[in-house]
Symmetry: C2
Subunit: 72 residues, 2 copies
Amino acid sequence: MNKSDILEKFGEKIKEYRKQKGFSQEQLAEKANLHRTYIGMIERAEKNITLLNIEKIANALDVKITDLINQQ
Amino acid sequence: MNKSDILEKFGEKIKEYRKQKGFSQEQLAEKANLHRTYIGMIERAEKNITLLNIEKIANALDVKITDLINQQ
DNA sequence: TTATAAACTACATACTATAATTAGCATATT
DNA sequence: AATATGCTAATTATAGTATGTAGTTTATAA
C-alpha cells in the first residue's frame, strides 16, 4: 500500500476524534470490535479501509461517517 | 457477504447517480477504471467496497463521496 | 531533577478472510 | 437484432487479524 491523500486525511480524522474523546487506540479498537494494531494502521494510512469498518469506527467514535471524510 | 444496510444504500446511490448521468454500468466502470461486473456487484451490495474505490466511483460520477453516503 | 515503571504507539512480520479482477453465459430491456 | 445487466465461478491482490518487540510518552517515586 502506498499512501493516498484520502486515506491519510481519513487516518488523521480518526486520530483527532479519538484523542478528543480521550480514547487509546486499544480502547477505540475494543469499542469498534476491531484489532488494536489495525486502528494504528488506519491512522497511519497503511490500509485501504472498507465501508463496513468505516461505519464501525464512526459508531465507536459517535460521529457521522461524513465527519470522517473531508472534501472541498 | 450478507448485505448490510449501509452497503445497500450506497449501491442504490451509485445506481441513482449513474442513471441520472445516463451512464451504463460499463461506461461508469471505464470512467472509474474498474470492471463492469464489479460495478454491478456494488450496486447489488454484494461487495464491501474500500475507500479508494469509493473515491474512484465518486470522481467518475462527479459527485462528492459524502453524496454517496446517506445518514440519519 | 533523575530514574523507573506503566501505558501507549510504531513497526515488522505472518496468517486468514475477503475484496477486486476477469471470463463466460443467461436473462432482460430497447 | 443489439445493448445492458444479473449471476456464477475461479483467480489474484490485499484487507483484516494477530503476535511480538522496540521505542515513546506520561506519571510517579527516589
